[in-house]
Symmetry: D3
Subunit: 160 residues, 6 copies
């Protein structure tokens, strides 16, 4: 196992130099889940049908966060993004499942953009529902797959 | 169970009006965990001792994110913050535990600030270690306790 | 007519000193309109019913912009905000009308926050529909009313 | 008339994928106007000559806003910008006319950058003069021309 | 000499808790200088008279930076600001002197806001003139005085 | 000596058009220093060994600031960055020396990114130590070398 590339020889943090890497199409998909009470999920579902769409607010928050990943994560490269998509859906009786895909033609991967999108979408769901269910839990945010880097594609062995 | 206050009568999202609430001392603590391979945790521990401190980078990222919560979460009030602290520690052989506390004299609570701090600290750990362990999972981010609001204090029934 | 307070005696711009003003409840409402082809409005209306809600995206963009007014407008004071609401509705056959209200207990007014919310909501509508109607026009963004400052309430003589 | 590309099949908003588009030189020009009392315009003109330049403050605000368009407009791609210019001038006795041009070698157009620059410059003029003329109106912000995209150049049929 | 309060007992960085401090009027003034070739200063002076005002661009950059100090300096409290002013003037034949004053009724001091304003104004002068004088040096940025905190007023023993 | 390119013919500020420039590898290194009392430097050194690392906090602040240079400096182009590194070290008995290098394959230089990184790292040191040494001075921030632009490489004649 090699070392942590985000530190230099004296242990100082740094943004790794990617200037010599070729520009290739990068893609990454991350997933997460917000566990809640069945009544809370019912409320989200009802309002989605009737009025007030929690999923849409969370989706936009995730897209906006993906664009600012380089500001949030100290050693992340600041990247443009060619595409971001989030998919939210109810899972069983008591959870919302969030999936985000980011894409870019660039010199470094977009895993963090996908992970940040899922995280901030989950936080937004928490924010919008916390008045009725303070006990919600954000669970299992992980990278599911990525492609386009020098290390070849990655696919999670135990996908969600 | 009452409705979702972040929507008006026609279903449009809004930032809830807190102008009539009194300014009181608000505090909130959230926790989360990053699960990783034991070798990855060993690498973090070693570097912390020797050179390169993953925890410190994550801690600062969490503090900075807490200050920008209102920019990240669409319907959150923009708040000053009177204090933010993050505590990170190894948990068992294969996890890092993150705890954040936010505090403010203000008109609305700081749960989201504490939750955002934990989330972004977790993302930062993922970012710094992903080159050696792409399968890390951010687990169980939740509010542990809060105090200072009109609804009285909250303490999680099943604390981490 | 007095001078422009945003300049000092030598003509340099400055943020006016409000530290001696009392904290009072401030409120401001602004309005604007996006003129478009009837087919474009029909498309927005249809999708609002069926799938894809342009109004909700614009509303969130407006709320987020209101929170960052102090970053956008150079001599504006950075303010917290106690409430922001946007109302969007079709007006006649070829326009969308946008109204925003901001509220704060503070030392200075929130007109710019309401104006910024309307402007960015209008830009967002333009962005989402420009592929089908590049000729849309953002029309007549103005302050409708404000209250809470030392100069007494303001109400537009010719309201929209 | 085709559909709104900013929504996916289920109606969720998304940032459209432009990764397969070629990088070409893009340019866009937008215009707008701030209507005010003749005395207000006189004040701006006087100070421009003597001391305190409202146009310069507005111009800088517009340039800075153009650079942050991707943060303000939720589904806009985050773009670098190779050039931004704003031109402000008095128009008749009671208006300021604002024109902005943005330019970039990239995968998607820069209309929103030009539109955002005009909008924020207009808001800045409003902010700086509102103490003497609360009734100012931001009028007619529109795209005048663009070039460089796949759909060929656009020029407004009824230019300002 | 006491310790560094920005670290907790285990050496982790933190934002110090100021929630128990009273709100008082805080003021701080910082100064700095940009040393340049006499020809460069002549160019700035000429344009200021004729067309193009380097000082005004730098002043606005400083004001905007003061408002975002809490985003730039990791352990700084996020503060509103009640006033910011920058004064720029030629000093001798080869320097520009920058002075910034920040003011706020709040729980903690505004030294960093004044220091950040001077620093970013100096960087902006460098940016605008670097094409003609790459060797400019930003010199001696320091706090000149402050008032309003518990520790009593401070005045630099060797003022600039 | 040519004119200031950041102004147009009428004296309005602008972001210079670089769209016709080729993308080349750009690099820039800047340096600065924070002068302090020997006791303050001793405190930083001690804590670095024991607990609490001022250098690491400053380094991260500098990296984050480099990524946001285009937001801070009004007429700077918004750039991605392929690498940023900061080196901090004690210099003699009473100073900290800061050096930053930025790198990018792009159409314009990264001097401002390196200068901004040094400036914000210096401000962060000031912030963290100001409670024990309010008289610290940020000294001599300057560009040491750059390469990759059309004008050929630059190397400071009197390096620090």
């Amino acid at each position: 196992m090699s070392g942590l590339t985000h530190f230099d020889d004296s242990g100082g943090s740094r943004m790794v130099d990617v200037s010599a890497k070729p520009q290739t199409l990068r893609s990454a998909t991350a997933r997460g889940r917000v566990r809640m009470r069945p009544e809370t999920l019912a409320l989200i579902r009802d309002r989605k049908v009737a009025k007030g769409d929690v999923f849409e607010v969370a989706r936009l928050a995730g897209i906006l966060a993906a664009k600012r990943t380089g500001e949030l994560i100290p050693l992340c490269h600041p990247l443009g993004l060619d595409a971001v998509e989030l998919r939210l859906e109810a899972e069983g009786e008591d959870a919302v499942r969030i999936e985000a895909t980011a894409r870019l033609v660039g010199r470094t991967g977009v895993e963090m953009e996908a992970m940040a999108a899922v995280s901030v979408a989950a936080l937004t769901i928490y924010d919008m529902c916390k008045a009725v269910d303070r006990g919600m839990v954000i669970e299992r945010i992980a990278l599911e797959e990525k492609s386009g880097g020098q290390g070849g594609p990655y696919r999670r062995p135990d996908p969600e």
